[in-house]
């Protein structure tokens, strides 16, 4: 049946894997930073002995030191601990946003590209509409409609990313559908859905991956912005955007803004660098 074309394809990509694992040092560093951030979000208690919620009032607004790496806030809480404990919701919500974008956008793009005809026309208009509403405003009204919580901010961010995923997936599907091996699969009697699942989906997903990684970085920024405006979980939580928002009222003690901002920027930079590398090696 269709296995000839397919098996050569997968062998080609497997030998490519060993090649692909060689990477420039800056990319290795980006992976290291991302791994640290993920570790922070899984097991924050391993990285700091301080509590993110209970502070020592006598130690309030201390500068960065060996004891308090990022200093302490207005309630004497260790800022490093707050950043580490805030990672889980900042990062996992970005993940939720990307998953929503990939699944919903991918499905729309897949159907539009594969079925074509009126389905394509209708879905393309839907995507145009989603693109026409400024992304951040869209996220703001969605989060307003479903309530101020970090998980809702993540959903809102995901909704605002659906259009871009739909568009890229559609373009990829159309490109793959015209490939000779897909034509061969049709000729040898493969059904539409089999070909969609076996050939089109794996090939289209290859270029969606770098985009998903890129959107992960952007979602961290959008969710931080929503948290900054107060549309995330309320204060005892310590999302990065919320920390920066609290810090802005204490600009005399600038580390309260600079430390969480630095972590946010470094994380997004690393994620973006990985995305660029993925796209180049593809």
């Amino acid at each position: 049946m269709t296995f000839v074309a397919n098996s050569t394809l997968s062998r080609g990509s497997r030998s490519g894997w060993a090649e692909a694992l060689r990477m420039p040092p800056i990319v290795a560093l980006s992976f290291l930073i991302t791994a640290t951030i993920i570790a922070w979000s899984i097991a924050p208690q391993l990285f700091t002995a301080y509590s993110p919620v209970v502070g020592v009032p006598a130690d309030k607004l201390l500068g960065p030191s060996a004891e308090h790496w990022f200093g302490t806030d207005h309630l004497g809480r260790d800022l490093y601990a707050r950043v580490v404990y805030g990672t889980a919701s900042s990062v996992s919500s970005a993940l939720v946003a990307v998953v929503i974008g990939v699944l919903a956008g991918g499905l729309i793009g897949l159907l539009a590209g594969f079925l074509g005809g009126w389905v394509d026309v209708v879905l393309a208009r839907l995507v145009d509409v989603l693109l026409s509403i400024p992304k951040f405003l869209l996220a703001v009204i969605v989060v307003t409609a479903i309530g101020f919580e970090t998980i809702n901010a993540a959903i809102a961010t995901g909704v605002s990313a659906v259009a871009i995923f739909a568009r890229v997936t559609r373009a990829e599907v159309i490109k793959t559908r015209q490939a000779t091996f897909v034509e061969a699969a049709f000729l040898s009697g493969g059904s539409r859905w089999f070909i969609l699942w076996r050939h089109i989906l794996p090939n289209a997903s290859r270029s969606v991956l770098p985009l998903a990684v890129l959107q992960f970085g952007e979602s961290i920024l959008v969710i931080a912005s929503l948290a900054f405006l107060g549309y995330g979980d309320p204060p005892p939580a310590s999302d990065w955007g919320l920390l920066i928002s609290i810090g802005k009222d204490y600009l005399k003690w600038p580390w309260l803004v600079y430390a969480p901002a630095f972590i946010t920027i470094v994380t997004v930079l690393s994620v973006n660098r990985i995305s660029r590398w993925l796209r180049k090696t593809d």
Binding site: A124, D128, K135, I141, T144, S225, K248, R273
Partner: protein, 336 residues
């Protein structure tokens, strides 16, 4: 103006009208059908002190007791005739509320766009003149750095450095020249990254074209090559990119206004969000979509006139430089 261009323009115009109408319906659906219920959350809030008769009156005035499809029809026909309805909180027309704050946001947004353009050109054209040894890589790295910094952080850093440390402006007076300038810088930096990225990519591509090689082989200098051969073809596609960043410009001003304490569309959104004033939100989001679609329509209509390389065939635009051949509608730039 050829026949093909007119067909293309008519098609594009029709498309824009359809997208605007659908965007309005989409916003309406998001605002009114999703769980949050404005009637209980705002009107029945004891802090507002509405009596039952007043609540009934507001509900009748807003038409909230009618079926959703009737409400949509009412709202959409109002939108088409320029009537954006009444604010649920202040009992004033939404259009008045928006008209009051729009100028301030337009000033900020245009200043932000100007900053973005200047910065993007400095960075992108700089890569042509700064040799590899002296930091061209650094210059090329700027766009991805700028894209990774949230604009409220840029705003806070600017306020901290120039407002608090150097005393150049006072946060208490957000409409002063310096405060506006720094707000525009905070807004413009992330947007400049997207423009610079496209400019750099285009310059690199044009420099590899055969005509550039020919010019170089005739002994033309780097500066002449840039000014008389590369500059124009590489810069024209930016018209399309600018149009696409309009959405981010609007979304970004929302945050920048909050950081700098300016009054504008952003602060109106903030206030309407916290009071669940849905008619105002509906109007602002639809207005954002209208602006985005119109600006992109103008850009798409102007572009074939500006760039002779773009051919219009059978009502479809064929653009050799930035177009994603397989997509319908405005091409979205994927930022690396």
């Amino acid at each position: 103006m050829s026949n093909a261009y007119l067909t293309y323009a008519a098609k594009r115009l029709g498309q824009a009208v359809v997208v605007i109408l659908l965007a309005y319906v989409f916003t309406f659906v998001v605002v009114s059908i999703l769980p949050g219920d404005p009637i209980t959350s705002v009107l029945r809030n004891p802090q507002n002190g509405f009596s039952e008769e007043e609540i009934a009156e507001i509900i009748a005035a807003q038409g909230l007791d009618k079926p959703i499809i009737v409400q949509l029809w009412h709202s959409l026909s109002g939108f088409l005739t320029g009537d954006l309805g009444m604010s649920m909180r202040s009992n004033r027309p939404v259009s008045t509320l928006i008209a009051e704050v729009l100028p301030s946001t337009l000033i900020l947004a245009s200043a932000g766009l100007a900053v973005a353009l200047v910065l993007a050109m400095l960075v992108a054209y700089g890569t042509r003149f700064v040799p590899k040894r002296y930091g061209q890589g650094l210059l090329r790295g700027f766009p991805s750095l700028f894209l990774s910094v949230p604009n409220f952080v840029i705003g806070l850093v600017l306020i901290h450095l120039f407002g608090f440390q150097l005393g150049l402006f006072r946060v208490i007076n957000p409409d002063s020249f310096w405060a506006t300038l720094f707000a525009a810088i905070a807004l413009g930096i992330p947007i400049s990254a997207q423009i610079a990225e496209v400019l750099i990519a285009n310059l690199d591509k044009e420099a590899e074209q055969e005509y550039a090689t020919v010019a170089r082989s005739r002994g033309i200098g780097q500066a002449r090559l840039f000014a008389s051969h590369l500059l124009k073809p590489a810069s024209l596609p930016v018209v399309t990119v600018i149009a696409l960043t309009i959405g981010e410009l609007l979304g970004g001003s929302l945050i920048t206004e909050t950081v700098f304490g300016r009054t504008g569309i952003g602060s109106l959104v903030q206030r309407s969000v916290s009071t669940q004033d849905l008619p105002v939100l509906q109007a602002i989001v639809s207005l954002g979509a209208v602006i985005f679609v119109l600006v992109n329509l103008v850009a798409d209509l102007l572009y074939p006139l500006l760039d002779p390389r773009v051919k219009i065939l059978g009502g479809q635009k064929r653009q050799p430089t930035t177009a994603d051949e397989t997509s319908i509608g405005p091409t979205r730039v994927v930022t690396p």
